[in-house]
Symmetry: C2
Subunit: 422 residues, 2 copies
């Protein structure tokens, strides 16, 4: 639907919300910062800044303190030898829980307002063979336990964000399909939220990493970037024109099923030539099994161990196995170059367990990408690697909740989307 139909009209409340966002955002990005500097950066009147800051202090979101060093008197705002009152975010003002459901494990994190991890818990569980109600039970116990260990009570938790692979209808907040559930699971977020009495939201896992990069990572300074994740599957998150891009049907960026030509290897989705069929873990294992003897990889645990072993052998010098990563990197590089030619992002961030292969994967990725960019873009799009860890995903899930605090009042995140299948 047309966005203008859902935008709120202006009223004094919206004005205050806009100004509050600007003050909070300026604080978050430039702390420690004085009231005068906030006024200069936001171009808000001194009285307006003071009133908003007073509110933020009263809410506990912001704290006052002296500048670490006495100002040197070089700027107009720096009184000679007079210590300035500086403002900082109070990272302990709010806490959230981030959860990432994978096929082979559940990761739970407790973070503060700045997505700094206070406590993490990883449960090695093959989620796909467990009933959703049991997964919800495990999450309940895991969250209760983690929150207590972090020295907090459930009442201190502002919200829970859950990341899952699959299709999430963000507007309706439901799982349309996930490999973990094998079907639609519209009630899962409520199932977890009800058990804990804490507001709970779900999102596609790669979108969460993208949000985390935006709020706390390598996408803080730019409006247009893409995140590519390589592991069981190949995922993508898009941040375009300053917003997470979710698409018309909310189906996310199915980069893994972009086809490199009309022929090619068969993908587990049933089609052929998909990038996943070249570059995902399962594709590499399929080829590796023709080269070395591998244990049966019929479940998520075995696959996880097998790809780690194949990666280790390739890194140690097995050239036939290394060639599989070269091929995977080239497939990713071509796919990324094609999208860059269309979307012209400032940056590409590569993450996921697949980055364990390091330059074996990333060198051919970068080389093939560069060759296939239009000449005007060659040498101008950074490829950065987000070092991989279980907490990257869960930190993203925490970002989903934190976004509610930081979010600009004009953002369209809540805009209704067409329901899947509607």
């Amino acid at each position: 639907m047309d966005k203008s139909a859902t935008m709120q009209t202006a009223d004094p409340e919206l004005m205050r919300a806009i100004n509050r966002f600007h003050v909070l955002d300026t604080l978050r990005r430039f702390e420690p910062i004085s009231r005068v500097e906030i006024g200069a950066r936001t171009r808000l009147a001194r009285a307006t800044v003071s009133a908003i800051v007073s509110d933020l202090i009263a809410e506990g979101l912001v704290r006052e303190g002296l500048a670490d060093e006495v100002a040197e008197g070089t700027g107009p705002a720096a009184g000679r030898g007079r210590p300035r009152i500086m403002l900082r975010m109070n990272p302990q003002a709010a806490h959230v829980v981030g959860i990432k459901l994978s096929l082979h494990q559940i990761a739970i994190l407790v973070t503060n307002l700045k997505a700094e991890v206070l406590l993490s818990l990883v449960l090695p569980v093959r989620t796909e063979r467990i009933a959703p109600e049991v997964i919800a039970d495990l999450l309940e116990d895991g969250v209760r336990n983690s929150v207590a260990k972090a020295g907090l009570r459930l009442g201190d938790i502002l919200g829970i964000g859950i990341g899952v692979p699959g299709f999430i209808d963000h507007g309706a907040g439901v799982v349309t399909w996930s490999p973990i559930f094998g079907r639609a699971m519209p009630a899962f977020a409520r199932m977890v939220g009800d058990r804990l009495g804490v507001p709970t939201i779900m999102e596609n896992d790669v979108n969460l990493v993208t949000l985390a990069e935006r709020w706390f990572g390598q996408g803080q300074d730019i409006d247009d970037f893409m995140v590519v994740t390589v592991e069981h599957g190949v995922g993508m998150g898009l941040f375009l024109n300053g917003e997470l891009y979710r698409g018309h049907h909310g189906l996310g960026a199915e980069f893994g099923h972009v086809k490199l030509g009309l022929d090619g290897p068969r993908c587990r989705c049933g089609q052929t030539g998909c990038i996943e069929a070249h570059a995902a873990d399962y594709a590499i294992l399929r080829e590796a099994a023709r080269i070395i003897e591998l244990p049966d990889v019929t479940d998520a645990f075995a696959a996880h161990q097998a790809i780690a072993e194949v990666t280790r052998l390739a890194l140690e010098g097995d050239e036939r196995l290394a060639a599989l990563f070269t091929r995977a990197g080239a497939a990713l590089g071509l796919g990324i170059a094609n999208l860059c030619n269309v979307l012209n992002p400032a940056r590409v961030i590569v993450s996921g367990a697949g980055t364990r292969a390091g330059s074996l994967l990333l060198d051919p990725l970068r080389a093939t990408m560069e060759t296939n960019l239009i000449s005007a873009l060659q040498g101008r799009i950074d490829v950065l690697v987000e070092p991989w860890g279980d907490d990257v995903w869960a930190r993203g899930a925490a970002s989903l909740v934190l976004e509610g605090i930081y979010r600009a009042p004009w953002s369209r995140v809540d805009r209704p989307k067409a329901l899947i299948g509607a």
Copy 2:
């Protein structure tokens, strides 16, 4: 750069601008409409609506009149037998000029506030062999002549929008590269504007068609759509999250240079496997010359005539030539499907002279696209054809100026972009 750094903070002026946008936008979309209905749709107070409408009437943008038929008394707003005062946009309140520069011609249009064409002029000129100053001279004469013939004076013209193929840095408003100039032409818009004393802006031609679809065409009701144009080259315009998407470097969507695999036919850009090398006019002519005898196609006129002739023969039943369009359609369909898998638009609009081939091109396009969409998207993305005419482009150029009148005050169109080469 981060969008929040450039958003204006809220003040009463911004509030008024936001409310004015909502009233104007509601008027444009639902006219004829009463003040009460505007209030109901915008949720603005009656007094606010009345004040804004009074301003719009004073500015000549809006006109009052009686409802065409007496209201039937079915709604709360319809007084029994009492004629309502209805409001309409006044299409004659503003006039603009749209210009499209092509390799083989210059099209000039005069339109009103609703992009309705009052007068059009097409100059058959091979622009690439003429100096930019001479093109500017031709535009000056053409615009003066067209405006006079439309019964207007230059002072009545709010602005001139010029569409050119190539790379346009929209933030700086300069042509970074265009096949017409063969180089950067930073001063061209000013060159034209100075000759006529009318504000003049430039934009990539496909972006203009996209804007025209948004404001006046088949994209009015949706926030996410893509436009594909097929002629000398293959172009793309993206409307994402309710905004024209220009990318970080402002290079537009170079869909024509997306590669279908690591091999493939050579493209005029010097790379291989580009969609253009499969589907653009020059690619079809290259293959057609192996099948039938064609006159030399060394310039834009000859190419224009040759592709028309090849299309005619294929439509009349030459199966070998028809196969070239099948191949082109399949290449476009695969490229579009791949992008749809990532961007998940609601609609794809195909335009450009290439659509003359009709179902010869469009049937294989649709079939290949459908086959290569992820299953969750199959059957859910419309492919519409925008009937082709010289005025589609120029109407888009007019939209660029009209956008300034209609544009939402929170839009980020003016956000500075990195300069090319910077």
